[in-house]
Structure formats: C-alpha cells, structure tokens
C-alpha cells in the first residue's frame, strides 16, 4: 500500500521531468539556438547610422574576423531590388497559378555546406540562381499551408532540383518596378537551418552581382554571422562587437530562452506537485510501518532473543523500507513510461498534424530515472525512520508477552 503511494509520487516526478525535457527538445527544434554564434547587425538607432557612417562592409567584416575568440564571420546581404516569381502550371500533379514577391538573402556557400545537394554558387547572369530554403518553412507548408489549400505534401527530395521563374526588377507594386526587368529562374538546391526564415537564400555572390547590376548597394552587408571559438568566448566577442559600434540581434534567441523558461517553470511546478505526492507517500509509509511494527511486536521480541541489538532491529525495519521504496520507485518509473507511451500514441492518432509535432513529447533521461528511484528510496526510508526507532526501543520481554 505504501509502496503504491511511493510509486505514484515518483511516477509523477519522472513523468513531469520527462515531459519537461521532451518539450524543451521541441522548443530547441523550433528555435535552434547555437551557443557559439551571434548575428551581428547595425544598431537601428545609432547616431552614426543616421549620419550614414555606421555600416558593415568588407573592412568591418575583416575587423570582426580579427577579434580575439572569433573563429569565423559570414557576411549576409539582402536582395535590394524587387523581384517576383510567377508560376502557372503543374505543381506535383495539380494546376497552380501563383505569384509571389521574392525576398532573398545572400549567404556564403560555406555556411550552407553539405545542406546543399546541388552546387550552391553563382553561375553568372542568364543561369538559374541556386536557392536554399529553411526546413521550418517546408514544415509550415506541409502542416498548415498544404492542408488548407488542398495542396500535396512535399518532401525535401521531391523539391530539390525544382525550378521556378524569377523576374528581377519587377514588383506587383507597379511603382516599384524598375526600368529594365530581367527574366531568369531559380532552382531549389537544398534545405538548411542556415537559410533565412523570410524568403529564400541565394549565394552571396549572386546577390552582389544582381544588386550591382541594378545600381543598388552591393558593398554593404545586412548582417554578419559571427562564430566564436567556444561558447565561453561569446561574451567577450559580444563586447568587442559593441565596441565596433555594432549590435547583436538575439530576438530569436530571446524567444527560445523565454519559452524555455516557461517550460522550465511549469516543469518545476509539476515536479513540486510530484514532490508533495511523494511527501504524502512518506507519511503513508510511516503509518504503514508503524502498523507493521505494532503487528509484529512478537517477531521483534524473537529477534532480540536470538541476539539482535536495538540497532539490528532498526536496520531490519529500514532494510524493509528500502526494499519497499526501491520497488515503488521502479514501479513508478515503469508507470511513467507506460503513461507517456500511451499519451504519445494518443497524440499520434488523435491530434492534428501541427508544425513541428514531435514523434514523442517525452524525453526520459537516465538522471531523471535515477532521481525518481532515489527520491522513492529516500521517501520510504524517511517514512520508516520513526517506526524503526520505535521498533528498536521495544522492551524485548514485553514484546514477547504481547
């Protein structure tokens, strides 16, 4: 009976800890945060900015690369002219007519690396521009956009190699359309966490070439991704960045931290609840062991008669409590895992397919399981402490005549 309470308490504890860890994992997937990288931008309200002095050019990037603790700096540049993509035709077996204003960012190919399945470099004017898209966009398309519009779901491999037209210098806002628009195309070459969430990412060289051709600024970068040599260097690097008159854009990081903190808080509250249950289980254990000691007074008398000391008797009671606690803890862990597996199955079949829906909401870590079993053991031992002392204090002669 008391083992049941202990099992329930530790079961809840392990369950909530695993849920917290699982949700944290989901948050980390939605907001992948690197502890070694920062996005450096020009401050939006800098005096120098107003005067047109503060900007990120090759010299600034060189200075950033020279900062102590910086391993690499990757400049990024926005496409600074309007562009649209119009697509009329078959889209995976469906007739589609669509027109999109294209927002593009230029990335250094090294940043995309093996995420690009086809060459991610500028092939020159007249050639298709390779683009990479963010994986999260595909997830949003598949889970939100496609079901609403009755469009087919797509996988990365289905899309890679796909070409759509690109009209540079043209806008759906007539006033913005430039004098000499040009028709070319873009080809999806891969999906990457590095790609921008707003639009698509192109090779930096292609963006520079297009910006230059249309007379837009091709020397000033929009931002620089700076990678520190280690997570410990990030603080120093950030200070050096500020000294250069630049700023760190950590909006996404702050999101992740805030959501993570919320998850942690809820986990903490639920764990406290579990601790309360475990505490009640300890009280329950105490009552159970009191009853057991009272019931077995004669047995205790026999133990004393065959040579057990008072502390031997206490040890016998505590050993029994330890076994109860351990059994309760193991049952609790099994219980937590079973309930979690059931809920996961329910979520798989019962919940709609929302973006970033994880295959499991739980992450059972070895240290949580160990903590659960340890807490169960502790609760049972604490509960049995006073009954054990009472057993040790029994007068053997009286115990035998009970």
């Amino acid at each position: 009976m008391s083992a049941g309470g202990v099992a329930l308490g530790t079961g809840c504890l392990v369950f909530f800890l695993a849920l917290g860890a699982g949700l944290q994992g989901v948050v980390n997937e939605v907001f992948p945060v690197s502890t070694r990288e920062v996005e450096v931008v020009v401050p939006q309200l800098a005096l120098g900015n107003l005067l047109g002095e503060q900007k990120i050019d090759d010299a600034t990037v060189a200075k950033l690369r020279a900062v102590r603790g910086v391993a690499a700096a990757y400049p990024k540049m926005q496409l600074r002219i309007p562009a649209v993509s119009r697509y009329n035709g078959l889209f995976f077996g469906r007739e589609v007519r669509m027109g999109l204003e294209v927002v593009a960012t230029g990335l250094m190919p090294e940043l995309v690396g093996p995420d690009a399945r086809m060459p991610f470099e500028d092939h020159g004017e007249g050639q298709p521009v390779p683009v990479v898209a963010n994986r999260r966009l595909l997830e949003l398309y598949n889970k939100v956009f496609a079901p609403q519009r009755n469009l087919p779901r797509l996988t990365e491999s289905m899309l890679i190699g796909f070409q759509i037209p690109l009209e540079l210098g043209r806008s759906f806002v007539t006033a913005r359309t430039l004098a000499n628009p040009q028709e070319t195309s873009m080809q999806l070459v891969g999906f990457s966490e590095r790609a921008t969430l707003a639009g698509v990412s192109m090779p930096l060289a292609a963006i520079q070439r297009i910006n230059r051709k249309y007379g837009a600024d091709a020397d000033t970068y929009s931002s620089v991704l700076v990678r520190a040599q280690s997570a410990d260097d990030v603080t120093d690097v950030a200070a050096a960045v500020r000294k250069l008159g630049l700023e760190i854009d950590d909006a996404e990081q702050r999101y992740a931290v805030q959501i993570g903190a919320a998850v942690e808080l809820v986990t903490l509250a639920l764990s406290l609840l579990a601790a309360l249950i475990t505490g009640l289980a300890a009280v329950n254990t105490m009552q159970a062991f009191y009853a057991s000691v009272r019931e077995r007074t004669r047995e205790i008398g026999i133990l004393r008669a065959v040579g057990a000391t008072r502390s031997d008797v206490a040890a016998v009671v505590l050993a029994e409590a330890a076994a109860t606690g351990l059994a309760g803890g193991v049952v609790g862990v099994v219980l937590a895992r079973t309930v979690a597996a059931l809920l996961d199955r329910l979520a798989r079949t019962g919940l709609p397919d929302f973006p970033f829906k994880p295959p499991t909401f739980f992450s059972f870590r070895a240290e949580h399981v160990a903590l659960g079993v340890g807490v169960a053991l502790l609760a049972a031992l604490l509960g049995a402490l006073i009954p054990a002392r009472a057993a040790a204090r029994l007068d053997p002669a009286k115990a035998l005549t009970e």
Binding site: L303, A305, G307, D395, A397
Partner: protein, 197 residues
C-alpha cells in the same frame, strides 16, 4: 563456577491502575544452577515463571538484586554485551509463536546468523540441528505448513545453532498435546545427555 547465580532478586510491576498496590512478583529469589544441570521451575499460572526466565535471559533488566549468568553481571553490562550474551551463550524456546512466519524452517534456524558476528559455519550447523530434531526433510517448509510439535522442534534447532551452554525453555510443551509434548521433553533430555554426560 555456576551457570546461574541469583541473589535476592525482586521483580515488581507498576500497578495496573493508579491507586492499587504495585505487583511484587518475585520476592528475594535466590537460585544457583550449575553447568550441566537440568532444572525445571514449577509454579501456578501467573506466578512469575516467564518473568524469571526473561530475567535470566537478559531480556528484562528492570529488577532488584544481583544476577550473574555465565559469569556475566546482568545489570552491569551494556545492551550490546547483553545481546552478545543472548547470541552466543543462550538459546531460547518459548511457549508458542517462536518462528517468523515469512521464513522457511531452515531460515528460521539460521536467524541468529544474521546478527552479531554471525555463527561460524551456520548453514551446515543449521542443517545438522534440523537433523538433530528430526526435521531434515522440512527445511524448506514455512511455519504455517508445520504442526505445533514440528514448530517447537524448529525453535529448538534454532536455539541449538550457536551451541550455547544455556538453554532456556518457557513451557515449550504448553501448546502441544500430551504425546507430542512428551516427545519434545524427550528431545531436551537427549540433547542434555549428549552434551553433559
């Protein structure tokens, strides 16, 4: 040297209800028992036989007078020394409820081995003791599956495990029918004869 040496032992119990006189059970008892003696104490129910036995076995130290058992001054030694005395020098058999119901006969016999410094060669001795009381085939049985006489014999086997020089038995036949009781008393005689002849 005598095994038991009691001088002027007095045992009182506090009154059952306030206002009543306190119960004086033993009054100035002198008793000497030598090694190798086989002694029976007789008395009416409630006369204090069990009380005397608990006192002799160091289970009850709340008395007046001087008591030496196997050279040990019962009122002078520590709790731990008293436990050691019971463990190595004294075997107890009670009237009833001698065994732990959760343990097998063999485990019950082995019980003293769990305490103090254990018992040398306990497993072999336990089987020998069970053999000695004629229960070698019941080693794995739990008390509930044994008859009253068998249970008492398991208790005797346990009392023999540490080969103590002093056996204290409190009405060991009290709960047995006449012929089974005879058998148990015979067993005590044999054990005594084998050790002290």
């Amino acid at each position: 040297m005598s095994a038991i040496e009691l001088r002027g032992i007095t045992k009182r119990y506090p009154p059952r209800e306030p206002g009543l006189p306190q119960l004086e059970l033993l009054r100035g008892v002198d008793l000497t028992v030598h090694r190798g003696e086989f002694v029976a104490v007789e008395g009416q129910s409630g006369s204090g036989k069990s009380t005397l036995l608990h006192l002799l076995g160091g289970l009850d130290r709340d008395f007046d007078g001087a008591a030496r058992v196997l050279g040990c001054d019962l009122r002078a030694v520590t709790d731990a020394e008293l436990a050691a005395l019971r463990h190595t020098q004294i075997g107890f058999v009670f009237q009833s409820f001698n065994l732990l119901p959760a343990l097998t006969a063999l485990e019950n016999v082995l019980l003293p081995d769990f305490f103090g410094d254990g018992v040398p060669d306990a497993e072999r001795r336990a089987r020998e003791a069970l053999d000695r009381v004629g229960l070698s085939d019941k080693a794995g049985a739990r008390p509930a599956a044994l008859s009253g006489g068998e249970r008492q014999r398991v208790a005797i086997a346990r009392a023999l495990l540490a080969r103590p020089p002093l056996l204290l038995a409190d009405e060991p036949t009290g709960n047995l029918d006449a012929s089974t009781g005879e058998g148990v008393i015979d067993l005590f005689r044999q054990l005594h004869w084998a050790r002290w002849r």
